[in-house]
């Protein structure tokens, strides 16, 4: 079979390696959250009723709102990457800025939820313990706190990257098309943060 196409240029090759590297890193992130999901799954298998009780204590509507917000911010990032591919610098910066704004709204709503749970006495070690908590419920609530907390940390890292890139694109420090791969792989990270939440939401909030 003769291959008469041009060999990939250096830029293409660098871009492909960057993407592959990011996907490998994302695979490790999947493993990280995977351990937590496995714990959630075992807790649900062994203590199905208490899991449902614990899940009912979380604010379903705030969680659903957060899911929509994160999906929209993923859309904004995907559009920003498309704009970057077309070398539309300002549109790309705007898309990333919108994603960052939505991400901050997500974190604000999460903070409200955490405060609600604190007020209900669900946070271990803080405030008054709620009176009718089973041990297995406490387990599930702790898993929820660890999982969403870890996710929030990932979101902060992602937001830092995206806002740095947004500023870089706005002030023409990040050059397109030469540094398109940077924008692209930051977008990939953000989409993974979204995918993790897409699985976290039903596992935590819809286990009722």
């Amino acid at each position: 079979m003769t291959d008469t196409r041009e060999p990939p240029s250096d830029v293409d090759y660098a871009r492909a390696t960057a993407r592959m590297g990011m996907y490998l890193f994302l695979a490790t992130e999947v493993m990280l959250f995977g351990g937590l999901f496995a714990a959630l799954m075992v807790a649900r298998i062994l203590h199905g009723d208490e899991t449902a009780l614990a899940s009912q204590r979380f604010n379903l509507w705030l969680g659903a709102a957060n899911t929509v917000i994160l999906l929209t911010s993923s859309l904004a990032v995907a559009c920003a990457v498309e704009a970057a591919k077309a070398c539309r610098r300002r549109w790309a910066a705007g898309g990333l800025a919108a994603a960052v704004g939505l991400g901050l709204v997500f974190l604000a709503i999460k903070a409200v939820e955490y405060y609600e749970e604190y007020a209900q006495g669900l946070i271990p070690g803080l405030g008054d313990r709620a009176p009718d908590l089973q041990p297995a419920e406490v387990l599930y609530i702790n898993l929820y706190l660890v999982a969403t907390g870890l996710h929030a940390v990932h979101m902060l890292v992602g937001l830092a990257m995206l806002s740095g890139l947004a500023l870089g694109l706005a002030f023409d420090r990040v050059r397109l098309p030469r540094q398109f791969a940077t924008v692209e792989i930051a977008g990939l990270y953000w989409h993974l943060v979204d995918i993790v939440w897409v699985f976290l939401f039903p596992a935590l909030y819809l286990a009722r």
Binding site: A16, R19, M20, Y23, L24, L26, A27, V30, M31, G34, F37, A38, M41, V42, R44, I45, L46, L60, A64, T67, V68, L71, T72, S74, L75, V77, A78, C79, V81, E82, A83, K85, A86, R88, E184, G187, L188, H191, D194, I195, V198, F199, F201, P202, A203, Y205, L206, A207, R208
Partner: protein
Amino acid sequence: MTREIGRLVLVWLVLVALLAVAVGLSFVPLGALSPALNMGIAVVKAALVAWYFMHLRHESGLIRLAALGAMLWIFLLLLLMATDYVARDAFPG
């Protein structure tokens, strides 16, 4: 570019619709079917995000394999753990 963005917005609409379905189903008492359905919907949503938002539809086979591999290993972990715990009641001792 506008056509691609239109496609992305369409995918977003499907994702939000799937979310609405999942939330709605959580109010219906389905018993053991409920976690399977929820996870099924989540898998479809993740696949949509990966295929369209992460541009896997434009990528080479090797990159798709890397993405798929990550999912494969986690499902192996969850599947084998689940079979362990679910089977413990069936075969005591």
